[in-house]
Symmetry: C2
Subunit: 214 residues, 2 copies
């Protein structure tokens, strides 16, 4: 069974993707942005990123919203992908995959418009079909998608929420409120659980998203 590590300020990835949600402010998210070298920026996020000392290696998206100034400044690293079937986050993930970068961390994937936020979290469950290791780190915690039984690093007392992308059977071990072969039919039903140890295990064959709160 795969074990999902709990990220720290010094966690490294092949690439960091900065989406255009709420800019990282939590210490772990912000440190990961500063401590990694390969940053792919979804186009709308460059306005905020360009106000920091972090330099992106690529700016990916339909580039509708790039300012003329940033379009000039970053002309050598802009990857314009105009098709409208996927959002800028998916374009960025596919770009990283094409560069053979298979260990990815998404920052800035939530906050602002809630429909974007829910969509981006759900997309994690699609990305795991072609990315070896991908998580989303927000200012409130860490999201991972799984489609098979998995172990998660945690700490006693950590708040844990589980979301089924579509109803499926779930069993958990080492959570305060144990779940035994339950099928959830609404998003809230497996939220606000709590870790009891330094790992917990989820047994499933469905597509789940797992949230560990900071």
């Amino acid at each position: 069974m795969k074990t999902y590590k709990y990220p720290t300020a010094s966690t490294k990835a092949d690439a960091i993707i900065l989406a255009d949600g709420e800019f990282p402010t939590h210490d772990v998210a912000l440190s990961i942005l500063h401590n990694n070298r390969y940053i792919v920026c979804c186009d709308g996020a460059i306005d905020t990123l360009s106000q920091t000392k972090v330099t992106p290696q690529a700016i990916v998206g339909d580039c509708d919203s790039l300012s003329e100034k940033n379009r000039m400044k970053y002309q050598d690293i802009i990857i314009q992908i105009e098709e409208q079937e996927t959002n800028d986050l998916t374009k960025s993930v596919q770009y990283c995959s094409d560069q053979d970068k298979k260990h990815l961390i998404i920052l800035g994937g939530t906050g602002k418009r809630e429909d974007h936020c829910i969509a981006n979290i759900g997309l994690l469950a699609d990305y795991i079909e072609y990315i070896d290791d991908i998580c989303m780190i927000t200012n409130y915690g860490v999201f991972n998608a799984i489609n098979t039984s998995s172990v998660f690093e945690t700490y006693p007392g950590q708040q844990i929420s589980i979301f089924c992308i579509a109803p499926c059977e779930v069993t958990t071990y080492d959570l305060k409120y144990p779940i035994h072969k339950r099928v959830f039919t609404n998003w809230w039903q497996a939220t606000l659980n709590e870790a009891e140890n330094h790992t917990f295990t989820i047994k499933t064959t469905g597509k789940l998203v797992v949230f560990r709160a900071f």
Copy 2:
């Protein structure tokens, strides 16, 4: 078919429930908070609300997080419900229902921790089973839950996202990207559509959440 109005700054409800997410800042959300008389405050939200001129009629929740100062100040209107099976938002909705208040608007239901946010949005699909009319207004738009074919007021160009709480068949009329008898298996698949007229219609028998962006 029921028609879901598009809320404005002067929209009235039997009760406004203020949850403990991001405090209203958008003009529509903030005006509704100020223009309605019956405000039910989820307990954690009172710290922010008490810094405004809005007076709540009830403070509902497990009240674990109330400051000693606010516990004294509001002692006559605190409704402490200790059971841990439901969250403060659901306790507040049930309290309103018990008072025969059946037209409710939730503010502050999103923002901050994303698992709370997704849970609160999903809960709308449960609330419609016993509340006649309930919506959630955030700083980015309006969420309604439906479980039958429905009409929504809108304006040409308004961004519309649809979420299936569990996979079900959906057909839409008067949206830019028409959906015809599709079953969605991931949260993102029916997001980022656009209204073409002053109403749009969704035909379904499943539980959906519909978002109209400001």
